[in-house]
Symmetry: C2
Subunit: 405 residues, 2 copies
């Protein structure tokens, strides 16, 4: 147990001191990079401003309130923290925090052992029963955003009076805690928006990747192999983790433009006529159109790869005859992974070549089709790649065998 009894000195803040404190908090809140640290700070300062012995902070997640921080000056929560943190309660009338979140109203309970008749909620005493703590006065403040959305609930427990006894919370509109609650709401809303934005950006990529895989059965495996080989190359080139991840996530969309090419050409067993070849080459342009006006790094990488993975280091590729560093590095990497895959696996117009035929072809094209640095990285991880291809080819055989049964 820490601080069996709260420090009586801590209770004698003047209003001026609390306001000075608030000024510091507002700066600290906007400077805190760490989610956990920020949430702990909100609860610590909320307790300081209201003289609360304990408290909990919930964040809204869909129709639930997630328990994110708990603090108690009397009880050592570290042993039960694991059980508490991350637990959710449904936003509903039957719990105090749920009621505050649902109605958007502040709830001030002078003594939780004597709830006003007609209160729709019950006080959860699980924690009290486990720890021997006695929850008496409670103040639950919904954290509301400008658009009225409740993003969380701040629950303060057991207000300490001047003599150290537990007293009801006092609440007026001009109290510093109301200001802190407002700042906390905006900061937590920021956290949630940032997370939603990340998810929304990834969402586009995931759906486009699903579409790319639907184009035909063989493609799904092709896509996974290209992404895997490209990632290995990127890592061997010592690109930073973020770039490696971008290439891993964006490369599955390299052939997304093929959804605009007719099956009759795409699946043609024999060699293509000049006109058919020109039509197939359009998949890079169509890919560029589908991924046009990128609004984030992932989409930029995806567009670069879709548009430029058929460009050649020597300028002889398509669609824009870019050469050398004019071609985005991500596309130079996928270009090699793609050609290797086309050679090493079966296509509607050719059988799979054995590795001892594939490798010399790749080697011959270093400095012509391929960026020498990309090729160097590729050869440094060749064993891994070959291993993966052998595994893929076995799993495909197995899959095919299963389907024939």
């Amino acid at each position: 147990m820490k601080n069996q009894i709260a420090d009586p000195e801590a209770k004698s803040f003047s209003r001026a001191e609390l306001l000075e404190n608030l000024l510091q908090i507002s700066i600290a809140l906007s400077a805190s990079r760490d989610r956990r640290e920020m949430l702990e700070m909100i609860l610590t300062e909320a307790r300081r401003l209201t003289n609360a012995q304990a408290g909990t902070l919930y964040i809204k997640h869909q129709d639930q309130l997630q328990f994110v921080v708990a603090q108690n000056d009397v009880i050592d929560l570290s042993t039960i923290d694991d059980k508490l943190i991350g637990r959710s309660i449904k936003i509903a009338n039957n719990s105090l925090a749920g009621f505050a979140a649902l109605t958007g109203r502040i709830v001030n309970i002078p003594d939780s052992h004597h709830l006003a008749s007609g209160a729709p909620f019950r006080i959860n005493r699980d924690l009290d029963q486990t720890t021997g703590y006695d929850t008496r006065s409670i103040l639950a403040i919904p954290l509301k955003c400008p658009d009225g959305e409740v993003v969380g609930v701040l629950q303060l427990i057991n207000c300490l009076g001047h003599d150290g006894a537990i007293v009801p919370f006092q609440l007026h509109q001009d109290q510093p805690i109301m200001s802190l609650a407002s700042m906390a709401a905006v900061s937590i809303h920021n956290l949630l928006l940032t997370e939603r934005l990340k998810r929304a950006n990834l969402d586009t990529i995931i759906r486009l990747s699903v579409i790319a895989e639907f184009r035909d059965r063989g493609t799904a495996q092709h896509i996974k192999r290209i992404s895997h080989t490209s990632t290995l190359i990127a890592r061997a080139m010592k690109l930073d983790d973020e770039q490696v991840e971008l290439i891993q996530s964006a490369s599955p969309m390299h052939d997304i433009g093929k959804i605009g090419i007719p099956d009759s050409i795409l699946l043609k067993p024999g060699p293509l006529t000049d006109e058919e070849r020109k039509t197939v080459e359009k998949h890079t342009i169509i890919g560029g159109e589908i991924l046009a006006n990128p609004t984030n790094d992932l989409m930029i990488t995806a567009r670069d790869i879709a548009m430029c993975h058929h460009e050649r280091w020597d300028g002889g590729g398509y669609p824009h005859h870019l050469k050398k560093e004019e071609i985005p590095l991500s596309a130079r990497i996928v270009a090699l992974a793609d050609v290797f895959d086309a050679l090493a696996t079966e296509r509607c117009y050719k059988k799979a070549y054995p590795m001892d035929k594939v490798i010399p072809i790749i080697r011959q094209e270093v400095g012509k089709h391929f960026d020498p640095n990309v090729a160097k990285a590729f050869f440094s991880i060749l064993d891994h790649v070959v291993e993966t291809y052998n595994a893929y080819s076995k799993s495909t055989d197995k899959q095919a065998a299963l389907e024939e049964e």
Copy 2:
């Protein structure tokens, strides 16, 4: 001109008063729903806290700073507001605000007529020259978020001393203006994140719609017609604007699942075999997979429509044999628009039927294939729909004629 000379009374705030003021601002900031109102409030309060006669607020947009609010107690800006607001300056060393945004550093200029030697920026005097105002002391504060991103710049102009004379700004870390700047940064970041999130959600939809249109040439027109007819029906049913907009934006994706169906079946001129028909019917399931796990209303509507636009009111549709209100309303609307389109226009397996043949077929299916309420709304706007189809058919003829030349 308003307030030719700033009210001397206004200058005598005590620190305690300023802090009380800040407490109110923090609450007001988090409660402000209106973008413009919030930004005006930030600048007004920043000026009050620093005793600044004038000020401007910039918000970052990509590599630019956008001029969003200007205030001046001496000069009437209303006549030149239009020219100022919305103007952008590049984030670069050559302007004061640009320098503050680029470096993330506060810049305090005691007298702008005597810049420190070596200052990389110049003071823009366009406004002074137009209005006769004299910009002397300036305080430029970058508005920084926890991740270090500068989201805007607060520029305060001409600090008024106790005697009303213009003096340099005083700046210490514990001043209320620093706290306001922090709160403003978080609030503006919130605005930006909200806008980015909206754009990201729309982004997915736009890209999927582009893909849907690439499936084949004829589809692009089909998609536009379905969206148009569905929107007319939704509006005739008196759905609220938001729902109408959702249906308008989501309906273009109703056949997105067809990217998983081979051309050989999709474009087959003759009637389909039972097995081919079953394959085509899978486009509803595939559409559902592409649009699975929706994270916003638009995506939910898109998934509902893609999965359920071949369900029938009487339960005889596919893929899940839903009936009546089990079928989402958006899908019931698109179902009618889709069948009408299939009848009224040419397909690879049939010619276009004339309207006097189409209408009786639709009418016969009310209460069988179609929701009677949807059908009623459809018939109420039939003239509009027919008009649009005639316009489309003419534009298609024209297009075709142009392409044959």
